[in-house]
């Protein structure tokens, strides 16, 4: 399987350049699409993942980042990260490298 044929989340992913990650304080953060009416509340793990969506990390590496940053991360955190990143890609809010 070549890089271009891999499912989107198996490649490094970048958050779309227009997206705003806004930390409101008290651990509360939101992800805002200025081109759309939607915004999303981010928990601390999803905030960290969004911050690391810079086109250099794949889902397993993003899960490693979460494991390193937080205690008591569930064993299946990689599945959660894959699901989260997949939904961002599907909604056009993040882009796999090479796309």
């Amino acid at each position: 399987m070549t890089g271009a044929e891999k499912p989107p989340c198996e490649r490094p992913v970048s958050l779309a350049a227009r997206m705003i990650v806004r930390e409101e304080g008290d651990g509360y953060a939101i992800l805002v699409d200025p081109d759309g009416p939607r915004s999303w509340i981010l928990n601390p793990v999803s905030l960290l993942v969004c911050r690391r969506l810079d086109g250099t990390r794949r889902v397993p590496e993003l899960a490693d980042v979460a494991r390193a940053a937080f205690r008591d991360v569930p064993d299946d955190v990689e599945d959660d990260v894959r699901d989260f990143v997949g939904r961002l890609v599907e909604a056009g809010l993040a882009e796999p490298a090479g796309s």
Binding site: A17, R18, M19, I20, V21, R22, E23, E24, G25, V32, P34, D35
Partner: protein
Amino acid sequence: MGAPMNTPRSVDIDVTGRCNLRCAYCYHFASAADTPDDLPTAVWLRFFAELKRHAVLDVTLSGGEPFIREDLPVLVEGIVAANLRFSILSNGTLVTPELARMLAASGRCDHVQVSLDGGSAAAHDACRGAGSFERALAGLQALRAAGVPVAVRLTIHRGNVHDLEAAARLLLEDLELPSFGANAAGYMGLCRGNAAAVMLTTDERSAAMETLLRLSDRYPGRIGAMAGPLAEARLWAGMVAAAEGGAADGVSGAPRGGRLNGCGVGGAKLAVRADGVVTPCTQLPQIELGHIARDDLGELWRTHPELARLRRRHTIALTEFAECAGCPYIAACTGNCPGAGAVLTGDAYRPSPDACLRRFLEDGGRLPQAAPA
């Protein structure tokens, strides 16, 4: 009280101090916001980039008249590049079809607010100058034709207070706007020198309340008011009911009453004057917090002592003020806008006399019988 969030969500920006009109009640001219020189394009573009770093979500461009800036398309490009959404407050007279299409093409314009002060040229032009009604209407239509959302603000003054029925008919029936907002000329800026000719008398204020409530019944949910006779009619009726022991449920401000709680200054927003000075609000241009070319906006937001003081303003009890002593409405009163209070008393940490229900009634003011809470 510290900053409620790390950085402001929104910033109100006077992108210019210039205007092609000189409306008799303009709050900008003859105020601390009236500064002689506009900042160059590059300074604003750098500022928009800073707002991006601070994850600010939106800006409102005002002035002065924003459409007077020939570089407005460049500024809009900078706003879009900074991932911001934006709104514009305008007199509408300089909006061309080309500019309207530019705004629509940006995809980020939430709305343009156009000031329309009446249902006829006579009513509108009374304070805004001959010919401004037709030009404002043309600008409004250009925006709608391009698909830009339009909001209309009607400022009530002595020259149009008897035209409110016609204004509502024009805006809501002839133009088929979904809604409009109505406020009133306040004792700020140029209005201070024109107060006798412009500001509503107590009788006119009472009549305007009655008319606007009647129009609100005729056009349900289509006339909004954050200030002015309609807002006062609604708020004050509830305050009277509360003072008389009636239910205060639904009274705007009543749950926060008894303290200087009239606005959320310092909560989510900052303002910038046309000379780049950062202020807490466009209505408090005399309180200088810093400058966009010199200071970090996030640092000002989190650490400036005056902002911290303003954020504690809501803890000041109205019982501390001699003018409030013995007032039967104090428990439901919030002291209203700090900006108006500052102009009238010289102190942003006092209640605004213009918003005083007891004073209004002592002056012979009448509240409409059927004012809804």
